[in-house]
Amino acid sequence: MKDPYQVLGVPETATDEEIKKAYRDLARKYHPDNYHDNPLADLAQEKMKDINAAYEQITRERGGRGSGNGSYGGSYGAGGTAYQRQQYSSQSSSGSSVLQQVRLAINSGNLSRAEALLANYADHNAEWNFLKGAVCYRRGWMDEAKRYYQTACQLDPGNAEYRSALDFMENAGQTAYRPNGGTFGTEFCGGNPCLTLCCLYTLCNGGGYFFCC
């Protein structure tokens, strides 16, 4: 059994408020929404379980003082309820059994099989584009993933699943976890006064410039 205080990263002397704050920050970090379709989502889910168990244990030990009062309800994303959302349902909207098999292959992490099935499927409908995007995303081919999601949304504008996948890609700046509430995004960061400082240790050669000149 892990020490619940250690899991939440707070001392045993922490106040209820401090514990709640630490819990909320960790829950935000490891929330299934932050690991949507992420190849490491299972590890995040484990973390989330530990955090929820630790928070529940502490609040129980402290006589329930911290629970329920505006907290995340103690089981934030626990037990896989929220996680379910990122598993593709085996019901595909097109009803094609091949595309259902693609969903199953993606869910089980067998991307090569999913790709092979998609390659042999002639009807490039909205579902096909969406699943193609999902395979690209899991491979880390973010540009192509987004373009397939876009096509899926164009072909079936009313589909909430396709729309949410595209929104996730387009709004990383708003949805991504960042420590201390800073901004997240290349176009959102301020100037770069530090870049000159970064050459402080350029000693033996051109630093990073060795290969590019």
Binding site: G185, L195, N205, G208
Partner: protein
């Protein structure tokens, strides 16, 4: 490896800057100890990050000594361990194959400097390849894939970036802990993707002039090397998504004493460098040299 991954030193306390310097000097010492003086010249920030990522959470013992770069005043450095040796070996293999790539990419005259340096590095490379045959094979094969894609002028920037990203990802293969291996593999993959795409963006104007292969120009049809607001937004978005994957992976492992450096680099340094590249301010030094050359040409 192009020197784009660097710590935002301005945002780090002195203690962390010193730690980064000890990691940098530590890798240099490990390279020197294992491969001799010549190998120390491959040292750069990217390899330092590789060493930091592969390191255990504790910094371990440090030493202090003078070196060719700091002959009067000694500098403290992180003493090597098994992870440092792995980082040094992989750095030598990467550096060597990138130099060979430089030889292949240039005509005889312009390939001379690459040929010269790669020959100096050859004995170190042979030793490193013997120590890490799997990684040597991975780098060789991935650079082969990349060369083919360049020859074919592959229009998919994801595919081209993937060839380089996998090359870095494989650097985590020898990590024992399966969870740590997955986390590092994911971080290195997207770090590689980010580096490759950032480098292509940085070369847009140069490649527009020379006609060299540039997957970003092909993807967004930037034939004059200039961004349109729409293409720039899309490109920044895809970079951000890789950074998001690096960040979400980073949060799943405890990097111990290296956490402040890594956190600042991931959540701030990469964005700053990416923005500077998009704004065209990343290499004022290189551009100012080019301006001088232009002025010289204009005046004659």
């Amino acid at each position: 490896m192009y020197g784009y991954v660097r710590p935002p030193l301005g945002e780090l306390p002195q203690e962390e800057r010193d730690r980064f310097q000890r990691a940098y000097c530590g890798l240099c010492h490990t390279l020197g100890r294992r491969y001799g003086l010549a190998a120390r010249f491959i040292l750069n920030y990217d390899f330092t990050y590789l060493a930091i990522l592969l390191a255990e959470g504790e910094e371990g013992p440090t030493g202090e000594s003078r070196c060719p770069a700091s002959p009067i005043r000694g500098r403290s450095y992180r003493q090597g361990d098994g992870a440092a040796a792995l980082a040094a070996d992989e750095s030598v293999i990467l550096a060597y194959w990138q130099l060979r790539d430089g030889v292949a990419d240039h005509d005889w005259l312009h390939g001379l400097k690459y040929r010269g340096v790669s020959q100096i590095l050859e004995p170190a490379y042979r030793k490193a390849a013997q120590a890490r045959p799997g990684y040597d094979e991975a780098v060789r094969s991935q650079l082969g894939v990349l060369a083919r894609l360049e020859t074919e002028r592959c229009p998919s920037m994801d595919r081209a970036a993937d060839a380089f990203a996998v090359l870095l990802e494989r650097g985590a293969d020898e990590v024992d802990d399966p969870v740590r291996r997955r986390v590092l593999g994911q971080m290195l993959y997207h770090l590689g993707r980010w580096v490759y795409l950032t480098d292509a963006a940085d070369d847009l104007q140069k490649d527009a002039k020379t006609g060299n292969y540039n997957p970003v120009a092909l993807r967004f049809h930037l034939w004059d090397g200039q961004w349109t607001p729409e293409s720039r937004r899309e490109f920044a978005e895809t970079l951000d998504h890789s950074i998001r994957m690096i960040a979400t992976a980073y949060e799943l492992w405890d990097f111990g004493c290296w956490s402040p450096i890594l956190q600042a680099t991931i959540y701030s340094g990469l964005f700053q460098v990416g923005k500077a590249v998009l704004d065209g301010t990343f290499r004022p030094r290189v551009r100012s040299l080019e301006r001088n050359k232009q002025e010289l040409r204009d005046s004659t």
